[in-house]
Subunit: 285 residues, 2 copies
Amino acid sequence: MPRIDAKTKVCALFGHPVGHSRSPEIHNAAFEALGLPFVYVAHDVEPGQVAKALDGVRAMGYRGLSVTIPHKVEAMHGVDEVDEIAQGIGCINTVVNDGGRLKGYNSDGLGALGALRDADADPRGKRVVMLGSGGAARAIAVSIARQSPPRQITILGVVLDELERLVQDVGECGRTVVEGAELTPQSLQTALSKADLLLHCSPVGMHPKEDASLVPPELLRPGLVVFDAVYNPRRTKLLKEAAAAGCRTIEGIEMFLGQAYVQFELWTGQQAPRDVMRQVLEGKL
Amino acid sequence: MPRIDAKTKVCALFGHPVGHSRSPEIHNAAFEALGLPFVYVAHDVEPGQVAKALDGVRAMGYRGLSVTIPHKVEAMHGVDEVDEIAQGIGCINTVVNDGGRLKGYNSDGLGALGALRDADADPRGKRVVMLGSGGAARAIAVSIARQSPPRQITILGVVLDELERLVQDVGECGRTVVEGAELTPQSLQTALSKADLLLHCSPVGMHPKEDASLVPPELLRPGLVVFDAVYNPRRTKLLKEAAAAGCRTIEGIEMFLGQAYVQFELWTGQQAPRDVMRQVLEGKL
């Protein structure tokens, strides 16, 4: 840890609870690696207290925040300005304080996009199938539609009103063909038969229910790239079966790291020391 | 520095400016020495923003604060409860947060009292002369009158309305005889002729005007203990002349350290690692 003195800039996590977050260790190691005068702490903020906490951030001159569950929407309403991508997503996970003026961003989908690009799987111009329509799906779909538009996104979900809203919002980004359908064996088979990239964004397969996957192994084939937003476990049943079927696979921790890189760069203006951050995270998982 | 994780408790300094404070280094070294899961940062809070910052402290679950110039009065009005000694002094320099309820304390005078006791110069039952009637004088006079009442305190000052209020407030502590008088060569000579302990609490002798002292050397004599609240320089003109005259002397950094020990113990419930804190401060002065 760098020595903290009276000039050290402060960043923090807002969540509830926060006790199990790895973000303090990751960001502090990154600050230290670059010799930057920053420190990152975690604050457990009760629901309903986010506006007061944000006023405190202004008054105390914090440099920035990470915002996690359940505060991503409440925080969006408490900042002074919201980045366009975060507006499209409908929530923020990052705040930058410039002289008392707070701007909200959402780095979750950008983190996934970065992970896809790092794996040479940029969705631009590709046929994408997304499973799920919740928060992760929304962040990723809006971000890629705006930043690296696929030829087509097919979103399959089970919460139909949520799915419909997501299809509409992604469609309004205007640079990609978006379809939505109820997730069924048939709709999944049809969509995957012509897909380049599968983005699994539902919680299926997450610890402790690890022995589950939405995708029958017989639908997996070489040429399909498979990303799983679930990162606990790192190798989900879906990713194991995809790898066995010859697919390239991308783990959810790449998205987690990707969003942390984006946050770090927004706060510091410096390129994130990716290897350091990855090592800290992998040492802890 | 201890590794900061999501369970690390946060304490901070509120001041304006804060950039030259040594408190972050001192308290962080102390937390580390005891292996406590605490970190201490500094926040530059604009005047008028203290109430918002304190709301933030509640919402973010800070453990405690140090409060310095110019916020000691504004902060007192923003906490939920004020310790009796701090009420008597009229301002706070310390906050403890117990579950969202903020209690204000003033450790400045207690720090001076601790320094006097450590030097075997407890004012209890003694004849004390105090020079000055500002913030340091007030903190020390009220604290010793309540915690370790002298037989008599003679306060000599030049700001007569301020002096009068201080004499009245110390008198209301009710356990010591308090006199006030304008500081003149004659009043100083009379008071010192029968004093056991001289507490210099004015800024005279402070850097950069180091070649100044309120006390003519011929009034200094063995048997008089001399404390100087000025800590920059450590050895003021007064202390050098007092030592030359055979007086026992106590430096202002002992008060600064003493108030930090009290704060540390209020936040952590642990005895402060005094040697560590002293070493950090002395390494920096």
